[in-house]
């Protein structure tokens, strides 16, 4: 028989100022099963907790109701209190008479009445509580990092430095991501390659890091601490062991007219290629779509020329399964496709280019060796317009968000123009400039005050070609004047979008994403690197637009989460997860269909039906995977699946304690074992 003690907290005057706590304690002492009740100024203080412990001893309490603040605040505290006195921690229930009562009411009488009802319900539930034990699951101490941009590289390095093996999976032929394409970087103007390349090399040479480039995650199975990642190694058509990276193949390949992704289409590459000279690994891949051999069966030049015989046309995709305990997703971003803005003529007017193309023009390793020239005629541009917020903060293109980096990289572009193209004038069209980072405002002022960039507030309505120039038409919203500017080149600061395939990957990982395809963090402030799926973390632009410093910080944060996860041999998890009643489960597996965490397994049981022995397959909850969301409970027709700690019966009892007739309220619960 349950013996419940009720402890009503004043919370100083927070509760006692509006609720007659003495009356609450007295009224609830009359409830069935309540053998002791009292009130105290601060239940969470040491003396308060000691009162609970004393009462447990003296009154042989089997369950405790603390009527105080939100369980978010002190559930853990009071669970520990009762546990210290030998009572199972999950036999403690809280009634929130502060946030749900005293703070939101001012009529003492009514608030007191409500508090009594809340405690009555908590007692009703406490009677039905069951002891629970924390769940322990073993951990595989290896991590998977998806995406080899700066965020993925940083996360991999930090985790590997912590002594943990890392599998780094990169979709493209080389790691490095977008940062490898940049020239100098704001706010310090250090050269992107110079700071990135050493990190790429570190990652490649780290004994704890295994890189799969030109590879993708095919499937993720399992759960926190125990994932199985199935990786598709796409066919490179080149044997990684044999190739020494001499480059004869891409130099001799007759198919050289393929726009280079790395150069943002500003120059061409061969069908067999490494994306850029510092690529890691430095082994080429054959782009089968554009290879003459693969398309028509003729050619085969690379195979003939290769001194080590590394070319392997009949390679096919391979599948590798890696066991890991945690996953960091760092799949980065893509750039807003400016083709859709017809008024800007991107793609039609050769001298209208994207921000990334400007980076390549300005880069010493780029197609022009760092000389800033117009794509149309190779001449030096005297006047260059930069347009901010292209495809950002624009409802018209379904992108109300700020891409966070374009203001800053535009300021950087203006500075680079001033540095590298003497005498050229930069005009920047902006809505408002966002320069919130450390050293950012100073950087912006440098652009305008020292480097001569002219900033004009306004939206550009149209770009068109006239007499070899690009005419920028728009309005200066500060002066109200119409502007018509004849420029030699226009750079569009296109915003950031989710990386292609982001949603598909999210489904493989069972993580959620927002309406734009960026992955959702578990809490915007307090859990910014975790996802809602335990054991999966986020780093870099895949979560939201951000610059390199922020990407790197988040990557290190994710790495520390992974290392913390791996600090013990077992994971302990809260036991509030779903549980199947083997007697009522029919095995229809509707729960499995709806479970977002793939947490329903099968189990064979033998039951007796009408005197016959029948072996049936029923559902079983996977202790490692279940997140306790409760969706399964809602769809189960025969109510065979239940959330421990908030079982239907427990809730049912609470509702009855509140809504039932006077008799029902004090009745022995129907079907209760107590």
């Amino acid at each position: 028989m349950a013996r419940i003690g009720v402890f009503v907290c004043w919370c100083g005057s927070n509760i006692a100022g509006t609720v007659d706590v003495k009356k609450v304690a007295e009224e609830v002492s009359k409830l069935p099963y309540v053998v002791y009740s009292t009130d105290y100024k601060y239940m969470c203080s040491d003396p308060g907790q000691n009162m609970i412990k004393e009462a447990i001893k003296e009154h042989r309490l089997t369950g405790v109701v603390v009527s105080a603040c939100s369980p978010r605040m002190h559930e853990v505290t009071f669970r520990r209190t009762v546990q210290e006195e030998g009572v199972n921690p999950y036999m403690m229930e809280m009634a929130n008479i502060r946030e749900h009562c005293s703070w939101v009411h001012d009529d003492m009488e009514e608030a007191t009445e409500k508090a009594i009802e809340l405690v009555r319900m908590a007692v009703a539930k406490a009677v039905e509580l069951e002891p629970m034990e924390k769940i322990e699951v073993p951990v595989t101490k290896r991590a998977l990092v998806i995406g080899g941009g700066i965020a993925g590289i940083q996360a991999a390095l930090d985790i590997a430095d912590g002594g943990v093996e890392v599998i780094l999976v990169e979709k493209s032929p080389s790691i490095g991501g977008k940062m490898s394409q940049l020239d100098e970087t704001f706010p310090t103007l250090d050269c992107s390659q110079c700071i990135l390349t050493p990190k790429m090399v570190d990652a490649a040479q780290h004994p704890n890091i295994k890189i799969y480039s030109y590879a993708e995650l095919e499937e993720l199975d399992g759960f926190i601490g125990n994932f199985q990642a199935r990786i598709r190694q796409k066919a490179r058509s080149v044997d990684m062991e044999l190739c020494n990276g001499c480059g004869d193949c891409w130099n001799k390949c007759p198919q050289k007219k393929i726009p280079s992704e790395f150069e943002a289409g500003m120059s061409d590459r061969a069908a067999i290629y490494v994306p850029f000279p510092q690529a890691i690994p430095n082994t080429p891949v054959i782009d089968r779509e554009n290879c003459i051999y693969f398309q028509s069966g003729k050619c085969g030049v690379c195979a003939k020329i290769c001194p080590t015989g590394a070319i392997s046309y009949d390679q096919s995709d391979e599948f590798i399964t890696e066991e890991v305990g945690a996953v960091v997703v760092a799949t980065g971003y893509d750039l807003f496709n400016t083709d859709v803005i017809g008024e800007y003529g991107y793609g039609e007017i050769p001298d209208v280019i994207s921000g990334l193309q400007f980076e390549r023009l300005s880069s010493a390793s780029g197609p022009t060796e760092g000389k800033i020239v117009r794509p149309s005629d190779g001449k030096k541009p005297e006047e260059v317009a930069f347009i901010c917020c292209v495809g950002s903060r624009d409802d018209k293109y379904g992108r109300p968000y700020c891409s966070r980096i374009c203001c800053m990289y535009t300021a950087k572009h203006a500075i680079l123009l001033h540095h590298k193209s003497h005498g050229s004038q930069a005009y920047v069209f902006y809505i408002d400039v966002r320069a919130g980072g450390k050293g950012y405002e100073e950087f912006l002022r440098r652009a305008t005050e020292e480097e001569g960039a002219i900033y004009m507030r306004g939206r550009v309505s149209r770009l068109y070609r006239d007499n070899g120039k690009v005419v920028v038409k728009g309005a200066d919203t500060l002066s109200g004047a119409q502007i018509e500017l004849h420029c030699d080149m226009v750079v569009l600061a296109n915003g950031i979008t989710a990386s292609p395939g982001a949603e598909e990957l999210a489904r493989k990982l069972s993580i959620s994403y927002d309406e734009y395809g960026f992955y959702s963090e578990a809490h915007p402030k307090l859990r910014p690197v975790e996802t809602n799926t335990a054991g999966i973390y986020l780093a870099g632009c895949c979560q939201a637009p951000k610059d390199i410093p922020d990407s790197v910080s988040q990557a290190s944060a994710a790495a520390s989460k992974v290392l913390a996860l791996f600090s013990g041999d077992f994971l302990t998890r809260e036991p509030n997860i779903a549980e199947v009643n083997p007697f009522t489960c029919t095995g229809c597996f509707t729960c499995r269909e709806v479970c977002p965490y793939d947490a329903i397994d099968e189990e064979e049981v033998t039951v007796h039906i009408d005197g016959k022995k029948v072996t049936r397959t029923i559902a079983r909850v996977n202790l490692g995977k279940c997140q306790g969301c409760g969706i399964c409970c809602a769809v189960c027709r025969s109510n065979a699946i239940n959330l421990k700690g908030t079982k239907d019966l427990q809730i049912f009892r609470q509702i009855k304690a509140f809504t039932g007739s006077e008799k029902e309220k004090s009745d022995e619960p129907v079907g209760s074992k107590k």
């Binding site: 007697f583 029919t586 229809c588 269909e593 027709r637 025969s638 129907v670």
Partner: protein
């Protein structure tokens, strides 16, 4: 009929199945009853006619023997649902398909004092589900016996009159149904005969814990029926057995058809059991699913 008997015999003689579940004659309306034939020589008893009203698939779950079973077109949908719900793998029974041009309304037979089945079944005597039937021949049959029914024009519409009926305001509907349900004696015949009510511990009457009050009172009955409607949402195949079995003539299908109509409207024309590959709405999620029904 001859073909049915011969096929059944063959199955039993060749030990392909342990039992053939079908129909045999009976002196009382609807003039057949379920037959479980285990010996080849008993196969002569098998009949199939317009009095073969029973939905025999109800017997399949937990049978413990390998059966061949006679299933009409409408009822085959239930087998699809059972397969989708992992209750009955397709290879656990042999499906004997038939052509059915309509079944009698058992109640009308009784009321009309018939002492045998009519030679020719008139629309007046026909079960109303048959008047709008669009699956007269059993699909997916392992063995098809008899002639296929050539195209029959539906005479009524599946959801006829429902929109008008449910256009009444909430109070009126509530009173209407409370009154209708007041006849219910909670015998659970409707639940027990339903081919999709396989839960061993149906929450309609389980008592540990007791979800629904079991006594026959207006409120309790209302709760029982409305809750069962939820179980049937997206699953009821409209075989009509619940209404046939109900001793007090509760028009249960009005409710089940209404929810089926709603689901068909909300979820891309979904009809329970029509397509094995199409996931039931409760198990499927689509970003552009209708949310109009959420309060």
């Amino acid at each position: 009929m001859e073909q049915l008997i011969q096929e059944a015999k063959k199955l039993l003689e060749e030990n392909k199945v342990d039992v053939v579940i079908g129909y045999r004659s009976s002196p009382l309306p609807p003039f057949t009853r379920p037959a479980f034939i285990r010996r080849p020589e008993d196969c002569e008893q098998l009949v199939f006619n317009c009095g073969s009203v029973y939905n025999l698939t109800r017997y399949l779950i937990g049978l413990g023997e390998k059966p061949a079973i006679v299933v009409k077109g409408c009822e085959q949908r239930g087998l699809v649902v059972l397969e989708q719900e992992n209750m009955l793998p397709r290879d656990s029974y042999l499906l004997i398909g038939v052509g059915c041009s309509g079944q009698v309304d058992e109640r009308k037979l009784r009321e009309g004092g018939f002492d045998r089945l009519p030679e020719q079944l008139s629309d007046e005597l026909m079960a109303d589900k048959c008047l709008y039937c669009d699956q007269h021949n059993t699909p997916d049959a392992d063995i098809f016996v008899g002639d296929e029914v050539e195209s029959v024009e539906p005479r009524t519409e599946r959801y006829a009159g429902l929109d008008e009926f449910f256009a009444q305001d909430y109070e009126e509907l509530y009173h209407h149904w409370t009154e209708v349900f007041s006849r219910c004696i909670r015998c659970y015949a409707c639940r027990n005969i339903c081919p999709l009510c396989y839960c061993e511990q149906c929450i309609s009457y389980v008592n540990m814990p007791q979800w629904l009050p079991r006594s026959v009172a207006d409120n309790n009955n209302y709760l029982f029926h409305m809750r069962r409607v939820l179980c049937m949402a997206g699953r009821c195949i409209d075989c009509g057995e619940c209404e046939r079995a109900c001793p007090v003539d509760i028009p249960l299908r009005t409710l089940y058809k209404r929810i089926a109509q709603k689901i068909e409207g909300f979820f891309y024309g979904y009809r329970a059991g029509n397509n094995r590959e199409q996931l039931p709405p409760l198990q499927d999620f689509n970003k552009d699913d209708s949310a109009d029904f959420i309060l």
